[in-house]
Amino acid sequence: MSPTPVEEPLERRAVISGIGQSAVGRRLGRSDLDLTVEAALAAIADAGLSRDDIDGLSTYPGMGAGTPGFGGPSSPEVQDALGLSLNWHDGGGEGPAQMRAVMAAALAVAAGLARHVLVYRTVTEGTAQGTGGRPGIGGSGGGRGGAPRFGSFMQWSLPFGAVSAANWIAMVGQRRMHEFGLTREQLGQIALNGRRNAALNPKAIYTDPLSLDDYLAARIITTPLCLFDCDAPCDGSTAVVVSHRDTAGDLDHPAVHINALGTALRGRPSWDQFDDMTSMAARDAAASMWERTELTPADVDTAQLYDGFSVLAIVWLEALGFCARGESGPFIEGGGAIARDGVLPLNTAGGQLSGGRLHGFGLIHEACVQLRGEGGERQVVRPAGRLPEVAAVANGGGPIAGTMLLTRGVG
């Protein structure tokens, strides 16, 4: 069931006025706060603002969340580090995926709670993991053997060694092979496309050429996913400034307008209980976004779709209506349709598979870069030399999903 339509979705009162990104690397050895300050100051300057203009602050996932290197600095730490005086502030890990922080900022601006909101997402997972691999699994309350015990939703999967989202998403992929005939050769195009684009992104983690043979020969993580289906942990911070559209005329570059947010979660909020094992929350978030706009999938010039695992990108391709349900395999076969000169240029900075796991915000950043025509060597140019005017961005996988439609303003 959809909410009552409004004459004009209020998120349209918001624009992304500035973007900034710190250094990005596998292991930079810098603190998360240091990286965040670098990205934040770049975004503020890009918006033509000063620190004193920023009156809102928002982040995902906020204080103390997740495994080491995952959460980044909390909003109080960043507020204090930059000496900000705020009218509105927010940080949290629940909601329509990582971009919930941008959505919250847009709504705060629309509601008049703030005028210029700094939004950031920072990861230092590369450094946190060091050379020793992924961190162990925490638990509490010893059982008879004294080993940690687990509650909450993880208790339903951990005992069976279904430890990682890789396992859960692998099962989505296997189900897609069963229902739709998806092949590894097709799925591999997401990784190959990302690697080709990463070669033109100076900040990308992996830029060496990757062939389909390399992909098919790679180490299996959890069938049908191989190493190249899984994103690359890294260090880096991405920041954007979300401002009221009334300020867009002051910019020295095109404002990026927020046209529609996709926020719905109509199925069960669960990996193993969601009704459709081939789509999950992406289906609902995408449907709710298209209910809020007169634009259609055919209007989209570039898509920046979450590829924490390759399967998630093809789930989004279908959910957002770029191809019919079950048709993503044939759609991406050979890679032409999703190349920079294809019908739907996808993950043009390399996505997370090759660009690095900037956790959703790298994709938001790249959508802005492309809409502003600042992509340099990797700039998408549509037929007849037209620059992209509409970008779709999606974050999340499984029962966690958020999506946005962004458009280029004048400037």
Binding site: R134, I137, G139, S140, G141, G143, R144, G145, A147, P148, R149, F150, G151, F153, Q155, W156, S157, L158, P159, F160, G161, A162, V163, S164, A166, N167, A170, M171, V172, Q174, R175, H178, R219, I220, I221, T222, T223, P224, L225, W271, D272, Q273, D275, M277
Partner: protein, 139 residues
């Protein structure tokens, strides 16, 4: 031959609302929380039936029969020392929208088929009986 599961079973806490589920296999029977008002099976267990909002809920035995909805063969060493093992989502025949994350045992990966019938078997680990699934008809 694949393993029945990871080398180390990370076990659930036997909190009051879930202890019945994790110990149900002691007598070889799988039980799910059931709504006595509308007949809905509630999984994971909750304080109220999400279909009819009744609080008249109690564990109820099910046949232990189900079907493989999807699966993966895990190779990654999340838990060091583990041999490959099969993770699956199995739907419960009494109410197929209830799915259990589980391991498939006594079967090779190449023989697993989505849609194949399976039945529950239990593996005891300390005071927990983990519901695993084996092909229907296997000994």
């Amino acid at each position: 031959m694949v393993a029945n599961g990871p080398k180390l079973r990370l076990l659930p806490r036997l909190d009051d609302n879930v202890a019945f589920y994790w110990t149900s296999g002691e007598d070889g029977v799988l039980r799910l929380l059931h709504c006595n008002a509308c007949g809905f099976f509630i999984h994971p267990p909750g304080p109220v039936c999400p279909r009819c909002l009744s609080r008249d809920l109690a564990p109820e035995a099910v046949s232990g029969r189900g079907h493989v909805e999807t699966f993966t063969v895990n190779h990654q060493q999340w838990i060091p020392g583990s041999d490959p093992y099969i993770i699956a989502w199995v739907s419960i025949d009494e109410q197929p929208d209830v799915r259990l994350t589980t391991n498939l045992v006594d079967i090779e990966p190449d023989d697993v088929r989505i849609g194949m019938p399976v039945r529950v078997v239990f593996e005891q680990a300390e005071d927990v009986w983990l519901p695993l699934f084996t092909p229907e008809g296997a000994s």
